[in-house]
Symmetry: C2
Subunit: 142 residues, 2 copies
DNA sequence: TTCCACTTTAGAACTATTCTAATATACTTG
DNA sequence: CAAGTATATTAGAATAGTTCTAAAGTGGAA
């Protein structure tokens, strides 16, 4: 596979992040990182990433796809988007933002944080801490 | 089981809704409707409703729980809340509103529509129609 | 270069949900 | 109001996404 997708600096940063989470820089992890982070913000499912890996000739098992996605999630390299009861989506954009979800295409589109303004939100009930605010705008193809 | 939970008028309205969706007013459907609609707004999962039915001595199979929840959803008697990749939640509140979701208690709390003000939202991309806007405020117990 | 903790993997296991096809029941019609 | 039929219910099998297991492989410290 083509490892030009990530610059040497990006690779170093990735290795640091992995090490910081106690994860070794293995061939499967680096290869999947190239697919994930090599071309702007992306949304993948385990299945779509596995298929993509297969297409570029990456011999990587389904178990490794799941393990890697979950480890990258814990390491803060990915975020999870919960919009579809049938599968989990992983997002390479780990900054705060929102989503369009096109139900009949099972496709996600990022919405930059500043394009959604929540001028009023309720306080968290007593005894609870705010963990995050997710806005999902559901769409149907016309 | 106690059928006093719903008034005769409510029962008539329910029968009408079911008929409008081509559904017969069977004993299991009416009994589950009493559990669901007999005491204010509620959030249930298939499992929690099944357990509740069992406790009140309602002999109803898991398949019927799933069938009934999905039929009530199609009939507009329930709405679905997607906040947890592990299970589907059904909400007896079918008006537009939002949710708190307490992750470590797998518990939902309704937020009335007027308590969340979205002063700016992006336009739907060309070719797509707006299907709904869901705001989920995730909480952790302190 | 060796060693060992960490990784990967195939396949089994698991969980939520849906499906199947046999039995039971609501509701219409005579 | 009895009978007939379309619709419901059910147990259990099937399915889909995901996680687990345990055996074989590998990164990187020394």
């Amino acid at each position: 596979m083509n490892f030009d997708a990530l610059s040497p600096e990006q690779i170093d940063r990735l290795r640091d992040k992995l090490r910081a989470s106690g994860l070794r820089s293995t061939r499967p992890r680096l290869a999947l990182a190239h697919l994930l982070f090599g071309a702007g913000n992306r949304h993948v499912t385990a299945e779509s990433l596995h298929e993509e890996a297969r297409k570029v000739g990456l011999g990587v098992s389904q178990a490794t796809i799941y393990n890697t996605l979950n480890q990258f999630l814990s390491a803060g390299l990915l975020s999870e988007v919960i919009v579809d009861p049938a599968r989990s989506y992983f997002d390479t954009n780990v900054t705060e933002h929102h989503h369009f979800f096109i139900e009949n295409e099972t496709r996600l589109i990022d919405i930059p944080l500043n394009e959604v303004v929540l001028s009023t939100v309720p306080d968290a009930p007593e005894g609870y801490d705010l963990a995050g605010v997710d806005v999902v705008i559901r769409l149907d193809r016309r």
